[in-house]
């Protein structure tokens, strides 16, 4: 058995679980900060309880994010030694800067916020949650710039010993690919938090449980969901254009387009190729020129098909295509649902059965975000660093398959238990009485 395949599975598992928690951390912190700002401004205790109620969910989620995040840093060294050695000069420094400049700030002030309700002045406490929100956004930026380097390596030179060395730091931190991923990721995280808040509030409103309290959170949740579902689509569209420019093979796999075409149509209905076929099984309902237009802004532009790339340089088509389609469809569902919520938000407590629809929507942003990462990471294959290093050559030479199999099995069990426990406790918080919600622990 090839240890690299197992290492890929292990990394996928670790990032999948880690990224269950990260988006809610990113998205919920500003939400709590806004609620607490209202409290400090108006002195209305209801807003304080809002911050505390959503803060408890935030804290459990944050803790699980921390616990699962450590694994990622370890794995670059344990399972991807060749990769680490190859890109450490650039990739490693971005991770180190993330820890020093952002994560310290986040973890220190999370504690100040959670334990400081009675110990620091009101305004300092408010500052703490804004610092947490800012630090988590900053943290995401460094991580996505590191990932951006894998997608679209810039600012490097070939150094001695066949490794990459830093040539131009400014190019690395202004990497267009990284920044576009950043906006798409952050907006979708805020969207996710909006839908989670809306869903939980909708359930409590449905049960006519603290209606005043949950109507207020529903309204802010709906605003988040609406603004950021639009922003996510815009940022996603721009990311698509950057992908068309820098990773044409990924774009071709996303659309499952085999032939290079001028004025490429977008086929609404596609069944990709099976086996070794180099054409789609079925294509139907084409909208002329739309694929070219979306990719470049020009409906007559040339869009490369998969056949333009040697077979060993193509990403797997089926999973990339399918993930992209479902994610895209979900994106439009989010816009529609949050638009409806915005229209009806004044009447929310009286919506009755419609409220259950918003409860049902809670898992969908999670699904969409995971699918988005599948597109990004699988679409980059067979490269770990695009056009520079193949994933198959990135592993650790001295690590045997049974070591990875063992750690993979242990990780799968632990992470599953962890997530079930996390869901249980977060669910408990979501159903707890907001009047008695204690601060932090």
């Amino acid at each position: 058995m090839d240890p690299v395949i197992l290492s890929r599975l292990q990394f996928a598992l670790a990032t999948f679980f880690h990224f269950i928690y990260v988006p809610l951390t990113l998205g919920l912190a500003p939400f709590i900060a806004i609620m607490e700002t209202r409290y400090v401004r108006t002195g209305d205790e209801m807003y304080k309880r809002q911050a505390q109620f959503w803060g408890r969910i935030f804290l459990i989620n944050f803790a699980l994010g921390v616990a699962t995040g450590l694994t990622l840093e370890f794995q670059f060294g344990t399972n991807w030694a060749h990769y680490s050695q190859y890109v450490g000069d650039i990739f490693g420094s971005l991770l180190a800067i993330e820890a020093t400049a952002a994560f310290f700030l986040e973890s220190t002030f999370v504690a100040v916020w959670a334990f400081g309700w009675d110990r620091v002045p009101k305004k300092i406490h408010l500052l703490a949650i804004w610092l947490v929100a800012a630090a988590s956004l900053l943290s995401a930026l460094w991580i996505l710039l590191a990932n951006g380097f894998m997608q679209h390596p810039v600012g490097y030179a070939h150094g001695e010993g066949g490794r990459l060395v830093l040539d131009n730091f400014k190019e690395v931190v202004t990497n267009t690919y990284g920044w576009h991923m950043y906006f798409h990721t952050v907006f979708s995280s805020l969207l996710l938090a909006g839908f989670l808040v809306m869903g939980v509030s909708a359930w409590r409103l449905f049960r006519a449980d603290n209606p005043g309290f949950f109507h207020a959170s529903f309204k802010l949740g709906a605003t988040f969901a609406f603004i950021f579902s639009l922003a996510t689509i815009v940022a996603g569209h721009q990311l698509g254009q950057v992908t068309a420019k820098h990773q044409p093979a990924k774009l071709a796999a996303m659309e499952s387009q085999w032939e290079t075409k001028d004025g490429a149509p977008l086929n609404l209905l596609v069944i990709p190729a099976f086996g070794d076929d180099e054409e789609n099984f079925y294509e139907g309902l084409p909208i002329p020129g739309l694929a070219s237009f979306l990719a470049t802004g020009d409906s007559q532009a040339t869009v490369k098909g998969l056949k333009a790339f040697p077979a060993q340089d193509r990403p797997p088509v089926w999973p990339v295509f399918l993930s992209f389609r479902v994610m895209g469809a979900l994106g439009f569902i989010f816009v529609g649902a949050s638009f409806l919520a915005m229209l009806l938000r004044g009447l929310a407590p009286d919506l009755r059965w419609l409220l259950l629809g918003f409860v049902a929507l809670i898992p969908l942003p999670y699904l969409a975000i995971q699918l988005g990462w599948l597109v990004t990471e699988l679409g980059r294959q067979p490269w770990v660093v695009y056009n520079l290093m193949r994933t198959s050559l990135a592993g650790s030479a001295g690590v045997d398959w049974f070591q990875v199999a063992g750690s993979l099995a242990v990780m799968a069990v632990i992470y599953t238990v962890l997530t079930l426990a996390g869901l249980f406790f977060m669910g408990k918080c979501a159903l707890s009485d907001p009047k008695t919600a204690p601060a932090g622990h």
Partner: protein, 349 residues
């Protein structure tokens, strides 16, 4: 300046690990002592838990930073160390995950039997993590079996080569044991400072009982590290470096004096002990200079500042970041510690 960048990062690398051991160390110590000191009383265990709860995460970021700096400043050393010690490091990772989950999910658990299970699990994880860290660093001081191509040559047992088992040399186990006892004393001192009443007295007594054991292990370990593992060579070459082991001995001695002098000196003893841990780490790290991972098989197999470090450009940029942010981090963590570390009474629930 450029010529010294590698050296500066080598020192910072040691310093970051030292700070992690001093801060994460009391957390491990508290975890270890949790079921022992709080055996009879759930309230006391809650208090012990609460004493570390606001800080453990901030402390753990020092580990993430130390690991990140190893990756960024010495990528080859990071790659060889983490992949050669695959099983040991993933075991450490697992223990750290259990520690953090035990710390965070424990207070959410309603039933006392659940909380007791979390405490025991957390204690076991703290023990194993402290042991693994001690064993790992002692192996580095001793020199890893790296051949000329930096490939780890594990020992053959029953036809299988195992890298993990080759780590378990008696000297390295002694190092592991030293870490466990050192962290236990450190945790007891911290607790004695942070809480009041019976629990404070109990933890002070624990520290007083453990301290002689710590002293014996410490002396034995330092002598072996210098004489047997050969770290004296660097100190003989540049005697000025002896400031480090001297400061370390002084710090631990001062800590010991405070510890036995009066009950209200726990805070001072804790701080001295923390400085002792940092200087002990630096003593070891400067003893292997310029190697990050010395090799006991072939000098060419060692990973050194010269063959493992990143480009001067990366080192310079990271140094800029570190010079600005690390003092800032120390400043706000110190502020947060002051703000959130009021004395806890044992009756706290």
């Amino acid at each position: 300046m450029e010529a010294y960048l590698g050296d500066i990062w080598f020192f910072l690398w040691g310093l970051l690990w030292g700070i992690y051991f001093a801060l994460g160390g009391y957390d491990f110590g508290l975890g270890l002592l949790l079921p022992v000191l709080g055996l009879g009383s759930e309230k006391e265990r809650n208090t012990m838990h609460l004493a570390a709860a606001p800080f453990w995460d901030g402390n753990q970021v020092w580990l993430i930073t130390a690991g990140g700096v190893t990756f960024a400043a010495f990528p080859l050393a990071y790659a060889v160390m983490f992949s050669s010690l695959y099983t040991a490091l993933l075991l450490l990772l697992l223990m750290l995950i259990i520690r953090s989950v035990a710390a965070e999910l424990r207070p959410q658990s309603l039933w006392s039997v659940w909380r007791k299970s979390w405490d025991c699990l957390g204690a076991g994880a703290a023990f194993l993590a402290a042991l693994l860290l001690g064993v790992a660093f002692s192996n580095i001081f001793r020199g890893l079996p790296l051949d000329a191509d930096h490939v780890f040559q594990g020992c053959a047992i029953l036809g299988l080569t195992s890298n993990t088992l080759s780590l378990l040399h008696p000297y390295c186990l002694l190092g592991g044991l030293l870490f466990v006892v050192m962290f236990a004393v450190h945790g007891a001192l911290y607790l004695s400072w942070r809480v009041g009443g019976d629990l404070s007295a109990k933890s002070l007594l624990t520290a007083r009982v453990l301290w002689p054991v710590f002293l014996i292990l410490f002396l034995l370990y330092v002598v072996l590290t210098f004489a047997w593992a050969g770290l004296w060579v660097n100190y003989a070459a540049s005697p000025l470096l002896l400031i480090l082991p001297l400061a370390c001995a002084l710090a631990f001695l001062a800590g010991g004096c405070q510890l036995y002098r009066a009950a209200d000196k726990a805070k001072a003893a804790f701080i001295c002990h923390g400085l002792g841990i940092i200087t002990l780490t630096l003593t070891g790290v400067m003893g292997i200079y310029p190697n990050l991972l010395p090799s006991r098989l072939s000098p060419a197999g060692a990973l050194t500042i010269a063959n493992a470090s990143s480009s001067p450009k990366t080192l310079a940029i990271m140094l800029g970041v570190a010079v600005v942010f690390v003092p800032l981090v120390i400043l706000y963590q110190w502020w947060a510690h002051r703000r959130l570390s009021q004395r806890l009474s044992a009756e706290y629930e």
